[in-house]
């Protein structure tokens, strides 16, 4: 899908701005009413925390053009600091209320960002990415060495319920933790959005676009990156602190490369070019890790494939797809193309169902062969020993993707038409000015 990817700004109708933020606040407030089981509430808390992480990550990636492979270092170290403070507080050593623990995490994250960021941000591009990778591996390897701080294999655990309850709030029940998280989430998201509209935020964008030019308008590029890195580390640490409260345990994997990779993957999936992209990515991350992994063993594979396809065909992520279609709608062209979308969706579904069936069967053979040859898949029972099951799935794949190709051509045709229409319309409006 070709597009001159436009970078939308919310045009300041103040009404629209209040509406959107109000909606966000309302959703945050009412979500646990809709998903009220303890499990769901805990998931919502996780989503809130991950939203903060992904947004802070996108401060580096989407706004600053800095690809970091080690962002989890700052969330993780923030979490550790928060956990140690929590333990100190519950032992009466430090008078820190539970509600401020995430903030302590933030300060922790910021501290390490100041420390590591200085050397990390001296370089840019691929070198920067490699340094972040190196530091990530370094910290993870160190976690096994300094068991005093990292707690070795068992990690550090804590208790978030201690002392006298304030107004009846003990932070014991998950719902209370959720509302604390929601408050932090709202404030952090608002702050990070505000950042994009400040001089530093805009210059950060300029650094992303053209670091050399920035020097020639009077700014020290390195300095800009360093400050942005510290701010991102601060917010990352807050999210780490929330995680520490939510799980009441912190283990070494919170600083691991796998965690960093997940943040990267999902921020990118959600979309690095628009502010709300990482929010979508965060929601998907929690859903994938918590729910998808229950559904199928192959979830990492699917994830990897989705990521690959995203990078190749929609590098702006889901948010860019949404915005592109909103743009179509704004010009009244959406109705011309939704038929093609349905075609694409159905055929893709067919083909993918075939692939998924094959994958599930293979996994079944691998892992559960002792349980007999039958696999449940989408309500069907597939017998892995019958060759016609395999053949059937293969046919499904072939037909599905064959039809998909046809649908895709039609889609491209429709899309191209609409794009042309829009270009003409834009020109027309320009002339009219």
């Amino acid at each position: 899908m070709q597009s001159s990817a436009t970078h939308f700004e919310f045009k300041p109708f103040n009404v629209a701005r209040w509406v959107i933020w109000g909606l966000f606040a309302i959703i945050l407030l009412l979500a646990p009413k809709a998903f009220s089981s303890n499990f769901s509430v805990s998931m919502l808390t996780q989503m809130g925390a991950v939203m903060i992480v992904c947004l802070s990550y996108n401060m580096l990636l989407g706004q600053g053009g800095m690809l970091s492979f080690g962002h989890a270092v700052y969330t993780g170290l923030g979490a550790y600091i928060a956990m140690h403070t929590l333990n100190a507080a519950s032992n009466g050593v430090l008078p820190v209320p539970v509600s401020l623990i995430p903030l302590v995490g933030g300060i922790g994250g910021m501290f390490f960002a100041v420390l590591f960021g200085y050397v990390t941000t001296r370089k840019s591009g691929t070198t920067f990415a490699m340094i972040t990778l190196g530091i990530s591996e370094l910290v993870f390897a160190m976690s096994l060495m300094f068991s005093g701080f990292f707690g070795g294999e068992a990690g550090i655990s804590g208790n978030r319920v201690f002392g006298t309850p304030f107004l009846g709030i003990t932070f014991g029940p998950p719902i209370q933790v959720y509302y604390l998280t929601a408050a932090y989430t709202f404030v952090c998201v608002a702050l990070m959005y505000a950042f994009t509209r400040t001089p530093l935020g805009r210059i950060l964008n300029a650094v992303r676009d053209n670091p050399e030019r920035v020097e020639f308008i009077g700014y020290n590029t390195q300095h800009v990156r360093y400050i942005a890195f510290i701010i991102a580390g601060f917010f990352a640490g807050i999210a780490g602190g929330i995680g520490a409260l939510n799980f009441e345990i912190v283990t070494a994997e919170v600083v691991g490369a796998a965690r960093s990779g997940a943040y990267l993957l999902f921020t990118f999936l959600g979309g690095a070019t628009f502010f709300f992209g990482p929010i979508i990515g965060a929601i998907l991350l929690v859903l994938a890790f918590v729910l998808l992994s229950e559904f199928t063993k192959a979830w990492l594979l699917y994830l990897g494939l989705v990521f690959l396809f995203m990078v190749m065909f929609a590098p702006g992520g889901i948010s860019s797809l949404i915005m592109m279609n909103l743009r179509l709608a704004a010009f009244g062209r959406l109705r011309h193309i939704w038929v093609a979308y349905i075609g694409l969706g159905l055929t893709a579904l067919l083909g993918l169902a075939g692939v998924a069936a094959i994958v599930e069967m293979v996994y079944h053979l691998q892992l559960n062969a002792a349980m007999g040859p039958e696999v449940r898949f989408a309500g069907f029972t597939l017998n892995t020993e019958l060759s016609h099951t395999w053949f059937g799935c293969l046919m499904l794949v072939v037909t599905g993707f064959g039809l998909f190709e046809l649908a895709r051509r039609q889609y491209l045709h429709d899309w191209g038409e609409s794009q042309e229409f829009i270009e003409k319309e834009v020109k027309r409006r320009e002339e009219a000015l």
Partner: protein, 325 residues
């Protein structure tokens, strides 16, 4: 070996291939399968070819498409590929390690180093007999270090690979074209060379080399899903420390890191014991200090990464690198 393939790809295409270790793994697993069917030496020939073909395929359909989006998406797509390969390998071959035995010719030691406190150092081809290794007198210390044939073979292949690559790049016409295509692809294309095909073959060769390393490494060490991860980070360090784009640098760096790690594990000193040896007495509290108590062997795993970070800070070109990204 791995590093030379990665260096090749990076210096030629400016693409840092995260999935390089994944092709190593692919080579190992394909080699394993072929080994049981066709024997080791055939597997040694075929598996890299297959790995190379897969690499070329990936380049043509995926990497090339992403190239126009910039460096970040390129990195990301190789990153995504590493995930996918890991999962597919686990899908096809299972999540536990598989038995990949080296062939008869390579089993056993190539030679044995005998360190006798009385008669000094001596060398015996093949395995040393037990009598030579045991001293009759308890006061005499004899240490027999067998040097496995598989390692020897690996070193041989690694050397010849480096040599071959270097010759290819600097002496042949193909090498010239590749070097030119790196910095001035349009020019080279207008001179009549099929630049995309060149890139594809370079990538393919790089991954084939990784596959070759995989066959050898997999049979020498272990063939399991985690092998890409364990090896992956170290080869990155090697390539970056050696200097991205320099084969000689990669060689030097891998030697350096290998030596340092071996010695670090063998040495069991810590800062504390060092101080004690010098005669400085330290208070009881400091004796317990976690940092000082760290022995070098405990620190060993992080040494490569420490190297990496330090090099990137002070000499981002690497030891012998020619270009800084």
């Amino acid at each position: 070996m791995l590093s030379s393939g990665l260096t090749l790809i990076f210096s030629m295409m400016g693409v840092l291939n995260f999935a390089h270790a994944s092709f190593y793994m692919i080579g190992a697993y394909i080699g394993f399968t072929l080994n049981s069917v066709l024997g080791f030496w055939t597997a040694l020939l075929l598996a890299p070819v297959l790995a190379g073909l897969l690499g070329a395929f990936f380049e043509k359909f995926c990497l090339r498409r992403v190239h126009k989006f910039g460096h970040v998406p390129e990195l990301l797509i190789t990153f995504g590929l590493s995930y996918v390969v890991l999962e597919i390998v686990q899908l096809v071959w299972g999540r536990t390690a598989v038995e990949f035995q080296p062939p008869m010719e390579l089993q056993g030691p190539a030679f044995t180093l005998i360190q006798n406190s009385l008669s000094g150092l001596s060398l015996v081809w093949g395995a040393a007999s037990p009598e030579l290794c045991q001293a009759a007198d308890a006061a005499v210390r004899v240490v027999c270090s067998p040097f496995p044939a598989t390692r020897g073979f690996m070193m041989l292949v690694a050397m010849s690979m480096m040599l071959g690559l270097w010759l290819l790049l600097t002496k042949t016409r193909v090498g010239l074209v590749i070097q030119a295509a790196l910095t001035h692809p349009e020019m080279v294309e207008s001179l009549g060379h099929n630049v995309p095909r060149v890139f594809m073959s370079v990538f393919g060769v790089g991954t084939a080399l990784a596959g070759l390393a995989g066959v050898i490494g997999g049979s020498t060490f272990v063939t399991e899903p985690a092998m890409a991860a364990t090896v992956g980070s170290v080869i990155f360090v090697v390539v970056v420390v050696g200097g991205m784009g320099s084969l000689a640098g990669a060689f030097l760096a891998s030697l350096l890191i290998g030596i340092v790690q071996t010695f670090a594990v063998a040495l069991d000193y810590s800062v504390l014991s060092l101080l004690q040896n010098i005669g400085i007495s330290v208070g009881a509290a400091s004796q317990d200090n976690a940092l000082l108590k760290l022995t070098i062997s405990q620190v060993a795993p992080i040494l490569p990464y420490l190297f990496l970070v330090l090099i990137l800070i002070f000499r981002p070109r690497g030891l012998l690198g020619k270009r800084e990204t």
